[in-house]
């Protein structure tokens, strides 16, 4: 198996026959199933060829969005297209590709009549090979000359990113460069200013800072090559023969690396890791072997392997991934190691939802999604038992179920390679999420103590801190806009460039809301974007984190909006609901706040009005305060 193989996907049985069936007329579901198996580059090409022949346009049964990606590269890319399209399919995206002319990157960006212009990309991916970037560098270059060359590369890249964004208002992705240049000094290569190997290393290191300042996302080929070995990603002979910088055999993984960035930007990254227990988090069966009999912790390679799985899960939890347990066990047995085993890295409090019983695991996983208030397509299910894996794959195809290697020590590598939790930014809320869920558990306990829910809500001492769109909260607001699926009235996605435009537009009211209670800060949980148009404030977007559902935040937010309308002299608020596969929970949102339906089309898209002078405040237990962090944008008056 190639070092860049898709190791987390199940092997494809009868691949030849299945592809032939698809070519002859099997359904699109079969194509998706094939895409979710471990295809090598030949079969990836074959699947792509069949899919494109049978479905030239996005088929109706594919619910994911279409995305237009332009590939602007200094080397050959034709062999990468199939890998990109199939990986996108797997990530729930229908990818349309544009391949820039070979080595024509600058010209395409410049020309007003280029194919790129006509294509109107949603995203542009820049890819440059080492020889291209090292042009102008000589092994005898002085330090100042090498520094100038580095500055020139940076200036050139930044210039292209900005041009692409200005021309298309699109997302920009930059591939890091494969370190293909051979060393001249050796281990201390960095001491030779004109070394190409050292220069590429400096560019790759520099890119990490350059892209952050420009809102560009990296596709880290250098990290992939460091993990899999350069030979898995680049073949000097193929470079000479066909100017292929990326090895054709690595095309399926290359597609993955790109597609998961697009998926993360579209809010499709997974949010929760569901863990089996016996022989997944420890060796043996707790119900049979007992606390002293399970294999875990220092002292044996196997025990350390299981500890490594726990430690990786714990780190994922600390960076914002929700952890859950789904185990066939008596609950008391299942919990015992979490409370009493000295070597456990995971403790009961790290698990947001703990389900141990003898029911079907697919049913239990449904319950977990419900209790956590997240979609099934946000879940990853880790289980050593092939029976359970297949059961869940078959009953719940939207749940990601990775293959699990026999060696527990290798599980973290498989999870990392799968890229389920790909994220493009880390916000304070991500880091605090573990605490938030612990806070939620305390609140649940309080709720049980208080029979009367309203009394309970009042006892929380909730305060809503709100403010206009500002720079401090930009990252979190853009993240919420792009990943909120359920409590989202219109599911309109906006990127950093849109956010900039909103901040500058005097007719746009962008409001964010943070909720604080006596258990702690729930973080920035609500966003509204409204446009002041004529006599109305039109609510373009209204979204909220489901964590704070049922606590009156909606009513509190409305009162903020009504005040804003009054200040601006607007006489009505117009609300809009666009149904999606996931936002059924807010179908009655505007009615419940006293809005009146004025329009409905055949797609159940609805518009509502609330006249400001008829506004009857909906009671809520939240004290509203203008936040003292961040400053109002200039459009606030």
């Amino acid at each position: 198996m190639s070092a860049s193989a898709l190791i987390w996907l199940p092997a494809l049985e009868d691949g030849r026959a299945r592809l032939a069936e698809l070519a002859k007329g099997a359904s699109f579901a079969q194509a998706l199933e094939l895409a979710h198996s471990r295809l090598d580059f030949v079969r990836t090409q074959a699947l792509d060829q069949i899919v494109r022949r049978r479905w030239p346009q996005r088929p109706a049964e594919f619910a994911g969005p279409a995305y237009r990606l332009a590939l602007l590269s200094s080397s050959t890319t034709g062999h990468l297209l199939a890998g990109l399209r199939i990986a996108a399919l797997r990530a729930g995206i229908w990818l349309e590709l544009y391949e820039g002319g070979y080595g024509q990157v600058r010209q395409e960006l410049q020309a007003t009549n280029s194919g790129l212009r006509a294509f109107q990309p949603d995203g542009v991916l820049f890819a440059f090979d080492a020889p291209q970037l090292c042009a102008g560098l000589s092994a005898s270059s002085a330090p100042a000359e090498a520094q100038a060359a580095l500055e020139s590369v940076r200036g050139d890249l930044v210039n292209m990113w900005r041009k692409a964004r200005a021309a298309f208002g699109c997302a920009v992705l930059q591939q890091t460069t494969l370190p293909t240049a051979p060393a001249l000094l050796g281990a201390n290569e960095h001491r030779l200013p004109g070394s190409r190997a050292a220069f590429v290393a400096r560019i790759n290191a520099g890119l990490r800072e350059w892209v952050d300042a420009e809102g560009v996302d990296l596709v880290a080929l250098d990290a992939a090559a460091a993990r899999d070995g350069l030979g898995a990603w680049h073949d000097t002979l193929l470079w000479r023969r066909a100017k292929q910088d990326v090895h054709p055999a690595a095309a399926p993984m290359y597609g993955e690396l790109v597609a998961r960035i697009l998926a993360a930007r579209a809010g499709k990254s997974r949010k929760c890791l569901v863990l089996d227990l016996d022989n997944t988090l420890w060796g043996g069966v707790i119900g049979d072997d007992g606390l002293d009999g399970i294999v875990l912790g220092q002292g044996s390679a196997l025990g350390e392997g299981f500890l490594a799985v726990q430690d990786y899960a714990l780190q994922l939890g600390q960076r914002g991934i929700i952890l859950a347990v789904c185990s066939k066990n008596d609950e008391a047995n299942a919990i015992e190691p979490f409370e009493k085993h000295p070597d456990m890295a995971l403790r009961r409090s790290d698990i947001a939802c703990f389900v141990a019983n003898w029911d079907d695991k697919a049913d239990n996983i449904r319950r977990i999604a419900q209790r956590l208030n997240i979609g099934l397509d946000s879940l990853v299910f880790l289980d050593d038992n092939p029976f359970e894996r297949n059961r869940v794959r078959q009953a719940l195809p939207m749940v990601a179920v990775p293959e699990v290697p026999d060696e527990p020590a290798l599980v973290p590598d498989v999870l990392a390679a799968a890229g389920y939790f790909e994220a493009i930014a880390v916000t304070r809320e991500d880091r605090d999420r573990g605490e938030l869920y612990k806070g939620n558990l305390q609140r649940e306990t309080e709720r049980e103590r208080h029979g009367d829910f309203d009394v309970y809500l009042k006892s929380l001492g909730m305060r809503a801190h709100w403010g206009y769109f500002d720079d401090v909260n930009r990252q979190r607001i853009v993240q919420l806009i792009n990943k909120t699926n359920q409590f989202n009235l219109t599911t309109r996605r906006y990127d950093d460039a849109d956010y900039d435009a909103f901040q500058r537009d005097a007719d746009i009211v962008g409001v964010h809301v943070r909720l604080i209670d006596r258990f702690g800060d729930n973080g920035l949980i609500g966003v509204v974007i409204a446009r002041h148009q004529g006599v109305a404030l039109i609510l373009d977007s209204w979204l909220m984190s489901c964590r704070v559902l049922g606590r009156g935040v909606e009513a509190a937010t409305l009162s903020i909006l009504v005040d804003e309308a009054k200040q601006r002299g607007a006489s009505e608020l117009i609300g809009e609901y666009i149904p999606s596969a996931k936002n059924g929970m807010v179908a009655g949102h505007y009615e419940s706040l006293g809005f009146r339906l004025i329009e409905e089309d055949e797609t159940q898209r609805k518009r509502y009005v609330l006249r400001v002078n008829e506004y009857a405040a909906v009671a809520h237990p939240i004290e509203i305060e203008r936040g003292n962090y961040g400053r109002p944008s200039e459009n606030s008056d």
């Binding site: 580059f41 030949v42 074959a46 062999h79 002979l237 066909a242």
Partner: protein
């Protein structure tokens, strides 16, 4: 030449998979001109697939000389013997 006949059968199978066409019939004389889609990009794919299948590696010089199915069969046979 039983070895070469076996390789030809295996290559036919591989070509059918690569070209997604079960009708393909190869002979030693088959060249790129006989198979629609056998362009230079496909040629590289074929070479890599052969290298992976037989765990062999062709040199650049050899690759430049591989123009017909017969050339491929002979090159594989030589590497394997």
């Amino acid at each position: 030449m039983a070895g070469q006949a076996k390789i030809l059968t295996e290559l036919t199978d591989l070509f059918r998979e690569i070209f997604v066409d079960d009708e393909i019939v190869l002979s030693e004389e088959t060249t790129a001109a006989d198979l629609p889609g056998w362009d230079s990009m496909k040629h590289i794919e074929i070479i890599i697939a052969i290298e992976q299948k037989y765990s062999v590696r062709f040199s650049s010089r050899q690759v430049e000389g591989l123009r017909s199915v017969g050339d491929l069969v002979a090159a594989i046979d030589q590497k394997l013997s």
